[in-house]
């Protein structure tokens, strides 16, 4: 986006974020800052936005998508020779009694989600067209031919 004020001349919400994140080029930043300097309401929103940015983000779950695996039987419990000789461990082995390897449960689907694995579409353009034209045959058809009358 190139012009960064809301239609009534105050700051856009996304301007505020861009300013805090230092994502604006210099002239835009100056525009936004000079408005905030003169406008007490926008300054207040900017301060509020800064607070949002200072608040710590929640801890993310471990990056692995799979659930944790059951602990491997301790190596020391197994005689080294047996490991080398037989690929299948003897049943009488002194390994801890683990239940039969629980098959890793698939990640729980998100509640009430009709398309649980559908990623969020990053292609703003084609997502929009899809919504507009509802073209089920060629969902990712770029449809670039449409004339831009703007």
């Amino acid at each position: 986006m190139t012009f960064r004020l809301a239609r009534d001349g105050h700051l856009l919400d996304v301007d505020i974020d861009a300013l805090i994140r230092d994502d604006l080029d210099r002239s835009l930043r100056e525009q936004v800052e000079s408005h905030a300097a003169d406008c007490i309401d926008c300054r207040r929103r900017l301060d509020r936005g800064r607070e949002d940015y200072r608040a710590p983000l929640p801890a993310r779950a471990a990056p692995t998508p799979e659930p944790p695996r059951p602990p491997a039987p301790p190596r020391a419990a197994r005689p080294a020779a047996a490991v080398r000789a037989s690929p299948a461990p003897p049943v009488s082995e002194a390994a801890p009694e683990l239940p039969p390897t629980p098959v890793a449960a698939p990640p729980a689907p998100l509640a009430a989600d009709p398309e649980p694995s559908a990623p969020i579409n990053l292609d703003v353009d084609s997502a929009r067209r899809r919504q507009r034209w509802e073209a089920p045959k060629a969902p990712s058809e770029p449809a670039r031919g449409r004339t831009r009358e703007a």
Binding site: M1, T2, F3, A6, R7, D8, H10, L11, L12, D13, V14, D17, A18, I20, R21, D23, D41, C42, R45, R48, G49, D52, Y53, A55, L57, P58, R60, A61, L110, A112, D113, P114, A118, P119, I120, N121, L122, V124, D125, A127, R128, Q131, R132, R148, E149, A150
Partner: protein, 142 residues
């Protein structure tokens, strides 16, 4: 998507929608889990993605504070937009809107974007956005 980089921005959008939700952070984490990494992400593109993500939750039944009153700290709150026809349409009849119209109205009535800014954000011709918003306004007045 870079969580550390865009997390606060997405959280701000989620708070706009779900300020009174018990677990807004859950939504935040889910967004990043489901959004593939993107090199060219900008504030604007992430804002649009986060808006769609929030709308999706809305359509699936999550109650949104945004449909009751302008979100704290938003342009709409500052502009006292709750009494405008556009905002009232959002709160009263958002279920009757197409997802696309709902998105346009959120940018226009909650974020205060002009038609040109919306067009740029969603990568559509400005004339199309203007037509949509005009048609909608006419319908409201009728």
């Amino acid at each position: 998507m870079d969580f550390a980089r865009f997390g606060p921005l997405v959280r701000r959008r989620i708070r706009n929608f779900y300020a009174f939700d018990e677990r807004p952070d859950e939504l935040l984490l889910e967004f990043f889990k489901r959004t593939p990494p993107q090199d060219s992400a900008t504030c604007d593109s992430v804002w649009a993605l986060a808006t769609r993500y929030c709308m999706k939750n809305l359509r699936e039944g999550r109650r949104s504070a945004l449909l009751v009153a302008p979100p704290p700290g938003s342009w709409a709150e500052q502009a006292n937009a709750s009494s405008t026809p556009g905002y009232q349409q959002l709160t009263r009849s958002w279920r009757d809107l197409t997802p696309q119209m709902l998105e346009l109205l959120i940018y226009a009535e909650v974020d205060g974007m002009s038609a040109g800014q919306i067009a740029e954000l969603i990568n559509e011709p400005r004339s199309w956005v203007v037509d949509q918003l005009h048609a909608r306004a006419k319908q409201v007045r009728a």
